[in-house]
């Protein structure tokens, strides 16, 4: 916490890098697990709950 207060710009820079890296890793892991196909199969069909049919 002390470092973050003393060096806010460096802390922010480090957090940004970590978050970008995390996002890339997450997307790759998710795509590898087949989550993108689950998203795709849901997105191309009419979502009955979304449009209020149930």
């Amino acid at each position: 916490m002390g470092f973050a207060k003393k060096c806010p710009i460096r802390t922010k820079y480090a957090v940004q890098l970590i978050l970008i890296l995390t996002s890339v890793v997450f997307v790759c892991v998710g795509a590898y697990r087949g989550e993108a196909e689950t998203v795709f199969s849901k997105a191309i069909r009419l979502c009955l709950e979304c449009v209020g049919i149930g």
Partner: protein, 296 residues
């Protein structure tokens, strides 16, 4: 680091363009069918129902619930990764510039009626975090049927965007859908009408109080590459920026406020040009100034 001051002045044009890109298959409204190309594997940055006939990509909130609510997964790395990426790149700039439902509320608020402040309703801004945690994350994970499948609770019971973009246009052109509408449609239509009425009198009520996507991006305003800066040497504390802000933010007190949608109105009204907008890493001149911070 890129300065974005001039870009902010074209906000309405950017919003129109973003809404068009997010819903590029406009002829599908007449056909009553959904686009089903490969791009729908990707999530769009704003709140945009994938059951909108014109939708280009998948709604991130709907996609997250679809994955965690499926029998195969309990968490979506894919959608969370995409959302973190959007968040760290832009923060709530997405709400201000790229979200079609945000733009829709902006248009409603332009109707010439008396407008009301939401400054005394700041406590309601925490509702959206509760909705994110419960309706989007917890319930689809925990409340499943025997097959391990859960409903997309936020999309089903709260989100008015599905009715606006999907339910209403599809029921107009498709008699089969029209015949199946019942109590759930009426409930969601009631929410949509309430949001529309509120948006005429209050600025962006859905974004401020309800939207779980806005809640997620709000967490990234502090760390996003797109950032606001207030030059304290130039600031004359006139208060024009906080009086102008319709999201009830005082940018001079906290330039990374969670409610700031980066609309740029404070930048435009500042008489001394003390507020600037930048996109990129800050590890440049300012970082060099603080290079000895470890030693101090």
């Amino acid at each position: 680091m890129v300065s974005l001051g001039k870009f902010l002045k074209k906000r309405n044009s950017v919003q129109i363009f973003a809404a068009f890109l997010t819903n590029i298959h406009l002829p599908n409204f007449l056909k009553g069918v959904l686009y089903n190309g490969k791009v729908k594997r990707l999530c769009v940055p704003g709140l945009n129902c994938y059951s909108c006939p014109a939708a280009t990509g998948a709604c991130p909130i709907g996609s997250f619930q679809a994955v965690v609510g499926s029998s195969k997964f309990n968490f979506s790395y894919y959608v969370t990764g995409i959302l973190i990426f959007f968040g760290v790149m832009f923060g709530r700039f997405i709400c201000g510039f790229l979200c079609p439902f945000g733009w829709f509320q902006d248009l409603l608020h332009k109707l010439p009626t008396r407008k009301f402040s939401t400054k005394r309703l700041k406590g309601l801004t925490y509702i959206k975090y509760g909705i994110l945690l419960t309706a989007v994350v917890a319930l689809p994970i925990l409340l499943t049927n025997k097959a391990g499948i859960a409903s997309p609770y936020f999309c089903k019971y709260i989100c008015p965007q599905g009715i606006l973009e999907g339910g209403i246009p599809l029921s107009i052109v498709n008699g089969g859908i029209r015949a199946t509408l019942g109590a759930l449609f009426t409930w969601k239509l009631g929410i949509l009408v309430t949001v529309i009425i509120l948006a005429v009198f209050f600025y962006r009520p859905f974004c401020k109080w309800i939207c779980p996507l806005g809640a997620f991006y709000a967490l990234f305003n502090r760390f996003s590459l797109l950032s606001y800066h207030v030059d304290q040497h130039k600031c004359i504390s006139c208060g024009k920026c906080s009086r102008t802000c319709r999201m009830d933010v005082d940018i001079t007190k906290n330039s990374a406020h969670t409610e700031c949608i980066r609309c740029g109105e404070c930048v435009e009204v500042c008489p001394t040009k003390a507020i600037s907008v930048r996109w990129g890493f800050e590890k440049t001149a300012e970082a060099k100034k603080t290079t000895n911070c470890e030693k101090s």
